[in-house]
């Protein structure tokens, strides 16, 4: 079933309350009604009884479509599927922690604005080169990322010398807006925030700090790193994932270590 929710381009948290009579795997998908290929979350949970989904949306379109369906049945109308019920959909204020982000740094301000607009519009943008308003950042939106004619598994990469970011359109079309944001903030951190430009873990954590501070959903960050690491399942990436998990847990508990 699909519900239309007026989100009016606001930043908000959607609270979706679902009830089932028996254990069911319920999927929630929030899509932009107008902007093509624009998803804000796509997740599922095993629900037995009453359960609440929190969908943090630091960006939203004019109207959002909330898809709620039982994975065993598929997306049908509420009349056709009585295995669960959507009790309510509520809009709440988005919880952010902007104090953890160094907005005094003009590069951070500029990149957050640029990346937000790029990620929200990636679903309808043509391939090409895009720049921030101050022209300090450049994203090369490519059909795929390749090296020597070979398609690369990475969704994005940054040139350490020039700061130019290459993004794979093929992969970004499948990503949610938060997924895209987590990836771009990681690339930005390599060159503009890291002490050591080559340090992947440092870039992960610096990027995540901004991502979480802006109020983006934790689950989407886990998801995109998991997807990326699955394409390159090395021991180093396994350790990175553990560090990311610890960092997110600590952020929730306000034990975040701030990188200066």
């Amino acid at each position: 079933m699909i519900y239309k929710v007026p989100t009016r381009f606001e930043e908000l948290t959607l609270i979706i309350k679902v009830i089932t009579d028996s254990p069911q795997s319920i999927r929630i998908k929030v899509m932009d009604e107008e902007q093509p290929n624009t998803c804000f979350t796509d997740r599922y949970k095993r629900v037995d009884g009453e359960s609440i989904f929190f969908v943090r949306m630091p960006v939203s379109g004019k109207n959002s479509l909330v898809y709620v369906y039982n994975e065993a049945v598929g997306n049908v109308t509420s009349e056709e599927d009585t295995s669960f019920e959507v009790v309510s959909i509520t809009k709440e204020q988005l919880e952010k922690k902007l104090d953890v982000i160094d907005f005094a740094n003009p590069l951070v301000r500029s990149f957050v604005n640029f990346a937000t607009r790029f990620c929200y519009n990636s679903g309808s943008l043509n391939s090409g080169d895009y720049t921030s308003d101050d022209q300090k950042f450049l994203i090369r939106y490519l059909p795929i990322i390749e090296d020597g004619g070979q398609e690369q598994t990475t969704p994005a990469r940054i040139d350490i010398d020039s700061g130019v970011i290459e993004v794979s359109k093929k992969q970004f079309l499948d990503f949610s807006v938060p997924n895209r944001m987590a990836i771009l903030l990681h690339e930005f951190s390599h060159v503009y925030l890291n002490d050591n430009v080559d340090d992947e873990v440092e870039a992960d954590l610096n990027g995540l700090l901004i991502y979480l501070g802006l109020g983006y959903p934790r689950i989407e960050a886990f998801e995109v790193f998991a997807k990326t690491f699955m394409n390159a399942p090395t021991e180093q990436n396994k350790q990175r994932f553990d560090q990311i998990k610890n960092f997110i847990d600590n952020f929730e508990n306000q034990n975040t270590f701030l990188h200066q």
Partner: protein
């Protein structure tokens, strides 16, 4: 008199709170068809969500802007 005003203000605040909390609850409107987003126009987006600048478009704008020829209304420049 003051007591009456307090009661009226109290009722006003109460009504405002009810309106506020009902506004947060979205009226569940189920739609049966997926949206047709083929006619999406990014010009309808607010400024902070507009697509970023495309480099080709900037070069075109710069090409349009130059060469610049000024006509001197005030006559010859010295």
């Amino acid at each position: 008199m003051i007591k009456d005003k307090r009661i009226i203000y109290g009722i006003g605040v109460f009504v405002a709170l009810i309106v506020f909390f009902t506004m947060k609850n979205v009226k569940l409107e189920e739609v049966t068809t997926e949206s047709d987003n083929s006619k999406f126009d990014s010009k309808t987006l607010p400024n902070d969500l507009r697509p970023p600048l495309r480099v080709d478009d900037i070069s075109q704008m710069e090409n349009l802007a130059s060469p610049r020829k000024f006509s001197l209304i005030g006559g010859k420049s010295r």
